[in-house]
Symmetry: none
């Protein structure tokens, strides 16, 4: 649906298509878990607290499985990667830097993971919308710094609940994305 | 009035149109808070030393009304939003994150509200001027981070005094803007 | 168990007592929720991801109930407060600044709430351990800034699962703490 | 072991003892990375221009061994820990947060590890010198934030070359230090 915004063949479908694309992305993105997610009349009396929402979160075992799968993919591609896992709250859960991987990717891997969890979509999807002239131009300045090119992917349960995200950095964005997807797929 | 500063083949709507837009935006934008802030007064009479300016500021009741109206609009649109209200000084007054709304929008909603108050115009108006080649290029880097796409709107009294701003984030920029306008309209 | 570390009646029970106290705090603090919280043999084969942890999180309705209760307490005490609620992940959920409350407390209320959630205990407990010569001296420099005096309190479900925290700032630490406890108590 | 530095019963060993302690710490602390880093070489012979220094650095396998040993110790102590490993350059190499461990310890574990490598001594040794009135007062403000209480330990090869550091946070400083030492000892 979205085309690459980098390289020689950049083609945007025009304002209407972009507007549609934005609507699709933003409406199909999986939403976090909240059980009692209903509006409620607050007029008149003191607010009623109700019950807490039932949610899910990634475990360290799951994080290690994602790290191992991403690293295995990197080995297959003969590349060195920095790999970060954040939990449902966007907080760092696990991290590994393969021997020889870039130092600059320590921060980028973490920012990709957070970006993916902060907006519940692959980091690269945000990047398509943050180019000059696009709806989310300069969103990267927010949240202490976002990374909006590929390599960040939400981690979901089998029933599609987002429990965290993985961010991979150290190679081309295509390779980073492939490793991130391999990592996310290892968690069910 | 302003000319493009970058690239040989940059084609925008034309220097004249952009110049007009800039001129219109900057001349029609409501100017800061003070009730007695009329150009002719400033120009015509000497300042009265020792007398402070009479100002107006948003109350928590008004902020809650704006939050509730923005949330109601979000419910109608079946979306989940982060909503922030800042006062006349640009300082956080109230905030609410609807259950399931993006974590990354916590910061963006606040930055949109501040951007709208810092320049007394909708955040998206700034974004038109901050594109590459435009007069305010990279203004987002200032003030600890601005957000210059739609979703931030000044809040005014009936006699057009700006008393704060609302910032909404969590959906498309069109939806964010619609919710922000609904919120701002709830305050008279 | 712990006495105030400020004011004329500061009394520490001595090194042994403090050591004990530290142990008690750190061992009795309620721990977050993690269902599959077991060590596991990782040698030999690829790590097994297992299942996600079942957790709970605060809802906006609950956050509003906490805000309202804290504000009601502030009204009774004839004080003006800034009140912040964070979720289980330490992310801002709701905020309100009462009319006339300190601007400087916007940040402090949020930092108190985060501190309480980051260590799953009242913020003031950390402050007892971070004094010069104490075990956690200068911990405040971490996490982008902690506030370790009273006014931050975890919010728990009836079965003692921590689902967020409340931070209150704007008056004496005793009043701040009283309002925070009132807010936390409103959520069951 | 540590005495209060405030109040009526402040007892320090005196300027001479403190001075001695400082001298001892700074002279006995293991010095940086380079394998051939012997004082007599530096003092005795002229530097050889054009020849880079031979150094050693921790591998990801070693980092994982340290993580596993620290986690094993934490399991034995029935505590939940955040564990960070940095390399010889002070850059993050690996990280794991045990299920249920404090969110606030994500940052502290990393800062402890960096502090230990930045000064090539256990983090707690710095803390003895950074108390009010001591030679390194407020050193915590440097380097983007240091943590100077126990829990950070250099990681060395068998021939005493420092190749990184481990930082552990999540329990008492005594437990944190025990886990950090267990982790560092797993690397030879």
């Amino acid at each position: 649906m979205f085309r690459s915004v980098r390289g020689p063949a950049v083609v945007w479908g025009g304002i209407v298509a972009v507007g549609l694309a934005v609507a699709v992305i933003f409406s199909t993105a999986s939403r976090p878990v909240a059980a009692q997610d209903k509006p409620q009349d607050r007029a008149g009396s003191a607010p009623q607290p109700g019950k807490a929402a039932d949610t899910k979160d990634i475990t360290l075992d799951q994080a290690h499985a994602a790290l191992a799968a991403a690293q295995k993919k990197a080995d297959e591609l003969h590349i060195k990667q920095d790999i970060a896992i954040v939990d449902a709250g966007g907080n760092l859960k696990a991290f590994a830097r393969m021997d020889g991987a870039w130092l600059g990717s320590i921060d980028i891997a973490q920012k990709k993971a957070r970006t993916a969890r902060y907006f519940d979509m692959p980091s690269g999807e945000i990047g398509k919308l943050s180019q000059p002239g696009k709806p989310l131009y300069m969103i990267e300045i927010s949240n202490g710094g976002l990374i909006t090119f590929p390599g960040g992917v939400p981690i979901k349960t089998q029933d599609d609940v987002i429990i965290g995200a993985i961010g991979v950095s150290g190679s081309t964005v295509e390779n980073d994305q492939a490793c991130a997807e391999a990592g996310a797929s290892a968690v069910k």
